[in-house]
């Protein structure tokens, strides 16, 4: 039998049983649409988080005090020693390294910020003018911290938009004084609420010069040092410079950890990729349900078409031919359903995308192909049983029906 004839015959059978066809198409379409929409959600979440990380700053290295090592239960664990602190002098030293473009020391703490009768507990970020570029922050009003030596603690601050609202309400904030802990600071700028949010909420924060923060918290240590390299390729080079410089400064002890943003990004990418796959797996269950429905409907259709099958056998259709005919029918049904579901899913993605424009909503290409492939395979797998049954039918029995 020719392929074209087989397809035409199967199409005829599909077209001849509208109710059955509609049911199967619907089930298959829902399954495929679920795959497309859920993977789009998962992948959208991945790209959303990735974009957030990217806004953390490109070519970024983060220096943390202390050394994380993966050495089992060794002697090191027994005689663990407190790492030396990172200091402003360390940051100054790193600034002089080749290939380094910017260095922003960070001292982190939390303190009561008050103005007149209003008081709020807010995260205090001690840093330098470089933080603005390193962390891709934007200003809503005024200016950021002034360029000055790191050890000069000027009494100025930049506040988040929400902090401004809570402390100043409708009054202008620029040029006003507020109290942080037991010190007074003048507001010189307000952050825009957009921008990076990883570890630094630009709405609820007060940023002051790093030296001021150290005085405020009565400490000489830094929480971490952010370093921006000249380009991406130079990061490993810079990393070794940093380790060398700091161990020289720390009496030969390599007691800091350098984390590249790439490493963090990759970890998150893996986690979210797994999430997307999980969602796809859940959606695949609905495809399996659709497959079982196809099997049932094919079996019912079989009993309704007994005399047709008997006739085909009497006319000289070999068992293999009958089997192929029914498999073709199942495959066509599931493919049609899959295409319908694809349209449905893309439509769904379009509307979700329109409702939440900030969320990057589009199904990854692999998911679309996988959905099509899985639905085809499902149709074939669940079509095998009915097809075999049809091929094995006893023609005499089948023809006894009218």
């Amino acid at each position: 039998m020719r392929l074209a004839d087989m397809l035409a015959f199967a199409m005829g059978a599909i077209n001849g049983q509208r109710g059955r066809t509609a049911l199967v198409l619907l089930a298959m379409a829902i399954g495929v649409a679920a795959v497309v929409i859920l993977t789009a959600l998962g992948d959208g979440a991945r790209r959303y988080v990735m974009a957030e990380f990217a806004s953390l700053g490109t070519n970024l290295l983060i220096v943390l005090p202390g050394r994380t090592e993966t050495a089992g239960m060794g002697a090191a664990l027994m005689v663990s020693e407190t790492p030396r602190d990172l200091t402003i002098e360390d940051a100054e030293a790193l600034k002089r390294l080749p290939l380094v473009r910017r260095v922003a020391p960070v001292s982190l703490g939390s303190a009561a910020v008050s103005r007149k009768q209003r008081e709020r507990e807010v995260q205090i970020f001690g840093s330098s003018a470089e933080l603005l570029t390193v962390r891709h922050l934007t200003m809503a009003q005024g200016r950021f911290l002034p360029e000055s030596d790191l050890d000069r603690g000027q009494p100025v601050c930049v506040i988040g938009s929400n902090t401004r609202k809570e402390l100043f309400a409708a009054e202008p904030a620029l040029g006003q004084w507020l109290r942080i802990g037991d010190r007074r600071f003048r507001v010189i700028g307000v952050l825009a609420s957009t921008g990076s949010s990883m570890g630094l909420d630009p709405e609820d924060v007060v940023i002051i010069p790093v030296a001021s923060a150290q005085m405020l918290f009565n400490t000489t240590t830094l929480f971490r040092i952010l370093i921006e390299g000249k380009n991406r390729e130079s990061l490993p080079q810079i990393e070794s410079y940093i380790l060398k410089t700091l161990s020289e400064r720390h009496q030969g002890e390599e007691d800091v950890t350098v984390v590249s943003q790439d490493a963090v990004l990759k970890t998150f990418d893996r986690i979210l990729q797994a999430l997307t796959l999980t969602l796809a797996g859940i959606a695949a269950i609905s495809l399996a349900v659709a497959g079982i429905l196809i099997m049932n409907v094919m079996l019912i259709s079989l009993s309704q078409r007994l005399s047709e099958i008997g006739l085909l056998k009497a006319l000289g259709a070999a068992p293999a031919q009958i089997r192929r005919l029914f498999l073709t029918e199942a495959a066509l049904l599931s493919l049609l359903g899959a295409v319908l579901g694809l349209l449905l899913g893309l439509l769904g993605n379009y509307f979700v995308g329109r409702t939440y424009p900030a969320f990057p909503m589009s199904a990854p290409l692999w998911a679309i192909f996988a959905a099509l492939l899985v639905s085809l395979v499902t149709g074939l797998v669940f079509g095998v049983m009915p097809a075999r049954r049809a091929a094995r039918l006893d023609p005499v029995q089948a023809l006894m029906r009218r």
Partner: protein, 231 residues
Amino acid sequence: MTKLLELENLTRVFQVGEQTVHALNEVTLQIAQGEYLSIMGPSGSGKSTLLHILGLLDRADSGHYRLDGKDVTDLSDQQQAKIRRDRIGFVFQFFHLVPRLTAIENVELPLLLAGVAVDERRQRAEAVMASVGLSERSEHRPDQLSGGQRQRVAIARATIMEPMLLLADEPTGNLDSQSGREVIDIMEKLQQRGITLVVVTHDPVLGRRAHRQLKMVDGRIADDQYHQEGT
């Protein structure tokens, strides 16, 4: 005359509940090329079973069946299907047309299964449709045709592969006498042109038209008579 069909001690047993029923009991029969044979007998006498075995739709439990000198008893399903397709035509009481296909598409079905190209298919189908006088009805669906017309479509379909054997199971059982006669006329014309015609029927009038008349009782051939034409 050459022997087209040779049955030798054919037995077909059915298990009905506890009972074993011999639908065919040691049937031995020879049918010559071009013969016109009717098989009559009461219900359950085995005449339909005999027809099914002749048409390779059913297999005997024992005995041998030679078709055109070749033993076909133990052929595989696939080989039997090919013989059915190329050499045997069936006409059924209930016509068995595929309802979603037009008359001519139904007629083309055997060619479709044989993988014949579209153009040749259409040409041959039109020719046989003309031979049963239904050229203008080609594009009608079965439910738009009368019973007699449907049976003529079925005959056209049974003969499109130019088989040597035409098997009819109660071909007029569902028709009024007028259309029944038309159907019989067409089949007898085919027989006159050389096809071997075997008709299973309850209808004594139809049965008596055949040149050779078998009567079956309880799975055996009870009577086997030759008659002159036109009795």
